[in-house]
Each structure stands twice: as C-alpha cells, then as structure tokens.
Amino acid sequence: MSLLLTHTKYRFLETIRVPIAVVGNTFFPSASMLFFVVPFAGDDPLVATLATGSMMTFSVMSTALFTHGLGVADDRAQPWDPYMRTLPAGPWPRFGSNILNGLIMTLLGILPVLVIAATLTEATVTPAQLLLGLGALLVASIPFTLIGLFVGYLLPAKAAIAVVQLVLLPMAVGGGLLMSPTDPPAFIAAVAPFLPTRGGAELVWAAVGGPAPRALPLVMLAVWTVVAGALAVWAYRRDEGRRFS
C-alpha cells in the first residue's frame, strides 16, 4: 500500500513537472465550455447543467485516453520501466499508480470546467447530484481508460498519440457530447447509442437532473467496457511476453 502511494507520488510529480501536459489536458474541455456552452446555453439552468456534464464527460474521456494511451506507450519506451521491475516489488504498485495518477489528472481536468460552469453559467447542482455526477463520470471513464491501456500496450508512442486523437474526437462528437442532449441531429441520434460515450454521458446527465438513461446506450457501454477490458488484458500480456519473458 505504501509502495502504491510512493509510486503514485513520483508519477504525479513527473506529470505535473511538464506543465504543458497539464494545460493540454484541461484546454479542450475548458475552451469548449467558454466558446460553446457559456454563450449559447449559459442562461438556462438545466441546459447549462447538462452541457457542463457533457464537457466533463469529454474531459474525462480525453484524460483517460491520453494518460493511459500515451503514458503507457511512453513508459514502455523508457529504460526506466524495466529497471523498476528489478526493484523488490510486484507489478501492482506500478500499474496501480498509473490508474491513480489517471484519476488525479481526471480531477484536475474537470476542475476548470466545474469552475467555469459555476461562475459563468446558470448551471446548478445539489451536493448529492454533484457526488452522483462524479461517480457517473468515473463509470464513463472506465471504457476509455481500458481503450487507452490497450493502445498504450499495443503501439509505440508516436502511433499511440495519433490513434488516441483519432479515437477521441469521433467518439466525443458521435456520442453527442457537443450537441443538445435531448435533441441531437438525426445522424448523431442514430450512431450515438452504439458508442461508449453515450451511455456514460446519459448516466452523467441523469445524475445532475437530466432525463433517465435509456437501456441501449447503457448496454453498449457495458459491452464496450468488457471488450476494451479484454483487449487491454490481451495487449498487456502480449507486451509482457515480448519484453519480460
């Protein structure tokens, strides 16, 4: 346990010492808030709240994909990674610290969105809704964490960054995060339920006072989570076999 915290501490230090990485992590969702949500939906409490939920989901996806996709691919390229395996610790402190650090970065990523929503829009939540919403964001981040790990263990860093970017935007737009939650264009309405984004987003919306989630997006969220989990485990084992057997 103390080793897990030690690993997390130093991994976090490594991350925040590159400030541009932290800025990049928070930029898109915050910028989208400022450009799209504040001017167009800022005055209606429910619309602003749901749009804030969408941007937070976007932020959480982005952090999960980048932290794990790029982070793991980068780690694998560093000789420091095999060195750490010679230390007297199992693989869990390293793996766990990656997940914990991802969560910390996720929190850092949604914080500016939360601040913008609270100060510049009419968005409003009760403390219970806020907690529920954070829980829903956590669930929404799981498939993207697993996709990130899959990409990170499968590809070299340069390929991973491209793939992560290719995955992020279509998933966010296709899932309807940048549209009205209740009245999306026909194409998005047709595609969205089959993307992992939508199930997560509907959970977040429901948590903060929006409509109840529909069954299809939730089932697809579960399917994506299971499939991405299987792929992540496969890629992890494959990497272990190549580098450490």
Binding site: T6, H7, L13, R17, P79, W80, Y83, L87, P88
Partner: protein, 293 residues
C-alpha cells in the same frame, strides 16, 4: 562458500538469435566477478536473467536459492538503470528516495550520494545533470537498498578518468565491506582494476572462467604477420592462418618466434607485430575450445 546467484545450463533465445547457450555460472558470496565480452556476447542477457527481467528458455536461474521473478529474492540485489532512462523531471533526491523506499533497509541518502561524488546535488533535476553525473547516479541507485549482491552493467562507459576512479573506489569499498559484485565490461582495463574472477563470454557461451591473471595471459598474445612462402614448424604458435601470401601467427612470445624465424633462414618480408585486442583473445580461447572438442 555460500552461492548467492546461480545459472544452471541456461539457454535463452531472442527470436532466432541464441543469446545464451547452455551457460552455467555460480556467483559466490564476497566475489568480485567481471563478465567480459564484446557487445552482443550475452552479458546483459545473463544479468537480466539474474535480475528477474527475463526467463530462460531452458535451464534454471536461482537468486538466493529462489526464483529471481519473486520480488522477495530481489531485496538483496541492486541493479543499475541505464542513465538515459532516469526520469528527467525528478530531482536527484526524489529518485534516490523512490528507489530506497522499495527496500527494507535502504541506504542513507546523504551518505550514498557522497560515496558516488554527488554531494550537494540533491535538489538538481536529473535532466540537468551531465552525462557523467547521471551515470554515477545510476550506479549509486544499485546500492540504494544496501544490497548483498550488485549487478553493474557497463558501469563506467563514457566516464572521464576521475569519475571512473570515484566509481571504482566506491565498488572496491563495497566489496571490502563484504559485498558481492558482478560487473560487465568490454574494457579489459576495468575488469583488471576491479575483478578477481573473470568470466569471458562470447556468442552466448562461457569461454573462460578464471582469475584475472590467467585471462590477462591469454589477452597478452601477440599477432605476428609476415609475407612468406612455406614456413617450417615454429615454437609457441597458438594459431596460424594464411591469407594469400600473408601469414598470421598468434603467439604468447613474439620475440622467441621472430628469433626462430631468423634462425630457420626462411625468406620473409613485411614483418608486423601487434598486441591482440580482447576480441582476438576471445577468438584464441574459442579456437582452443574447438580443438579440445
């Protein structure tokens, strides 16, 4: 004498390349062993096996009587990271504390840094250190857990003379205090300066496992090349090769060989005598091995 690490008939391949081919080696307590061999000889693979990073395809590797894959067995070893991999945004103090936190009885940071000439660098970011400082820090990390056995892979490659001496002194002090050291090098000089026992490795096989003096004798061979026709039997020739009209002779005593050549009154031109490189010494040992087989 207690055996700390042991390889028994170990074979390890990477794809179609055989990195280790039936290697057996015992590392006993208090030894200072030099693994000597050219790049790609299998030295690093052997260390990776002992450190638990790789598994053998056949044979067995033991560390303190157990498997190196078991973290508990690795509590008493220390390994050097490649200095290019040190996390560049962390400070010296932080990376030492991080590594030390893994061991039940870690070294005191100040004292560890002093041993490796890094006093006063605690707050420096690793990315800002010179190559030599990074290398010394990397070697220092192998000692962070107060290990009983350290594996140092090419510890002084690229260091200037003074930094090399500092490092050698630290390794000698550790050994004098009862520590066991396995170091790899392709510098004969380094192995001569530090090691008592030399294991010569090439193409995945142990070619010689002997005292430093014995291996130095092999490496003390001379190459004698000359242009000549048919040569009579000459004394002390370990190996003879002909390349067109040039003849290459390998001998431990070049002076005696030249005197014998002159006495035999054979016509020759273009006499050259040069010391063998370590690599050629390995070849000598290989040649002997295949003759014996």
């Amino acid at each position: 004498m207690e055996t700390l690490a042991r390889a028994i008939e170990v074979t390890r391949r990477y794809g179609s390349v055989t990195a280790l081919d039936g290697v057996s080696l015992d590392i006993r307590r208090g030894e200072l062993v030099g693994l000597l061999g050219p790049n790609g000889a299998g030295k690093s693979t052997l260390i990776n096996l002992f450190a638990g990073l790789r598994r053998p395809h056949s044979g067995r590797v033991e560390l303190f009587g157990g498997s190196p894959a078991d973290p508990v067995r690795r509590r008493d070893i220390g390994v050097t990271p490649q200095e290019t991999g040190l996390p560049s945004t962390l400070r010296v103090r932080e990376v030492v504390d991080f590594v030390t936190a893994h061991y039940p009885r870690g070294a005191a940071r100040g004292e560890l840094l002093e041993r490796f000439g890094l006093t006063g660098m605690e707050r420096r970011q690793i990315g800002g250190l010179s190559g030599g400082q990074k290398r010394r820090l990397a070697v220092a990390l192998a000692f962070a857990g107060n290990p009983r056995l350290v594996f140092l892979d090419e510890p002084t490659t690229g260091l200037d003379v003074e930094a090399r001496r500092t490092l050698w002194d630290a390794v000698r002090d550790f050994h004098a205090g009862g520590g066991t050291v396995v170091l790899t090098s392709h510098y004969l000089e380094e192995v001569e300066a530090l090691a008592e026992r030399v294991v010569v490795v090439d193409r995945g096989r142990v070619l010689a496992d002997d005292t430093v003096a014995a291996v130095r004798d092999i490496a003390g061979m001379r190459h004698v090349t000359l242009t000549a026709g048919e040569l009579p039997d000459l004394p002390g020739v370990v190996r003879a090769e002909r390349d067109g009209s040039r003849v290459l002779l390998l001998t431990a005593d070049a002076d005696a060989l030249v005197r014998a050549l002159v006495r035999a009154d054979v016509p020759f031109t273009g006499l050259e005598i040069r010391p063998t490189s370590l690599e050629e010494a390995f070849l000598t040992i290989t040649a002997r091995e295949s003759q014996a087989a």
